[in-house]
Symmetry: C2
Subunit: 174 residues, 2 copies
């Protein structure tokens, strides 16, 4: 995994892929699958929605840290398996600035600090502090949950960089 510039990290979440969230509560690593995430700022900052019903929420609240890991389509059954039960095997890799682990098998990993929790809506606000991208990985297609048990795989990519030049943040322009 190569380090990714912080200015590019929001582009991992903006397309809306299913992600894995890892936490470490001081005793052990935990992992959850979610697709309720959103970019909040280019800095980057992110929001995710979870709540008391989720084991990882306690760790997020206590440690104020997590890693957002982005799986690809070849990992779909593991991603769904994590959402249903525990016991799915993935390889934890030590992170640099948080105790939650990176996931070796994932396309990208973003180390995050919890900077706020909007209790009324179960929104956890995250600030990224480091990001990694596995550019050597062949399979780069992410997956998007529909919510009814089906998933949409990334299809082709269309380029509108010229048309959008005035709107693209610094560091990502042509």
């Amino acid at each position: 995994m190569n380090e990714l510039k912080m200015s590019k990290a929001f582009t991992l979440i903006e397309p809306g892929p299913v992600v894995l969230i890892t936490t470490n509560d001081g005793k052990k690593n935990n992992i959850m699958t979610i697709s309720w995430t959103m970019v909040l700022d280019f800095t980057p900052a992110f929001a995710l929605t979870t709540g008391e019903w989720n084991y990882s929420f306690a760790a997020l609240r206590k440690t104020k840290e997590c890693v957002i890991s982005i799986p690809t389509v070849d990992m779909l059954d593991k991603v769904v398996g994590i959402g249903i039960c525990s016991g799915v095997k993935l390889t934890p890799v030590e992170a640099k600035k948080v105790k939650a682990p990176l996931i070796k098998e994932c396309l990208a990993n973003i180390e995050c600090k919890v900077i706020d929790i909007v209790k009324k809506h179960n929104i956890v606000v995250l600030e990224a502090v480091a990001a990694y991208f596995d550019s050597l990985r062949k399979e780069k297609r992410t997956i998007h949950a529909v919510g009814d048990g089906t998933f949409i795989v990334d299809g082709r990519k269309l380029d509108r960089k010229k048309m959008m030049a005035s709107k693209i943040p610094n560091g990502l322009q042509l």
Copy 2:
């Protein structure tokens, strides 16, 4: 456009497509392109991020209403055009429960009420009150913004309904 059951409306946003948000400030319709959205609840409730810099934010705050419209890949240049300038032509259709218009050309439309604004993070919290889906439309592939001027088109759909049966909300199960 056919009415869509409210229990299915979250499945339009969960995959993370680029959406158009329409508002009506009492004088005229306005439209913006955003991809910073998130499902908050199956009811459904949604979050979107925008702020003072966006003309539509004033209308959202004042009228507490909007429509989320979901465009498809054949509309990409219009979607990008709306993000850059005004003057893009789309056909407004009267909504049932809000003054903001539906967009005729879009695959789906969700009428929403603004139920909260989390000022600290520029998060607008929406509750859906009606939803529509154009099932006769041939092109159903939505688009996902990467944020660098490129867009990912929906690819193929993978079915994990059986594996996920215990986790799928009522009304969407096999």
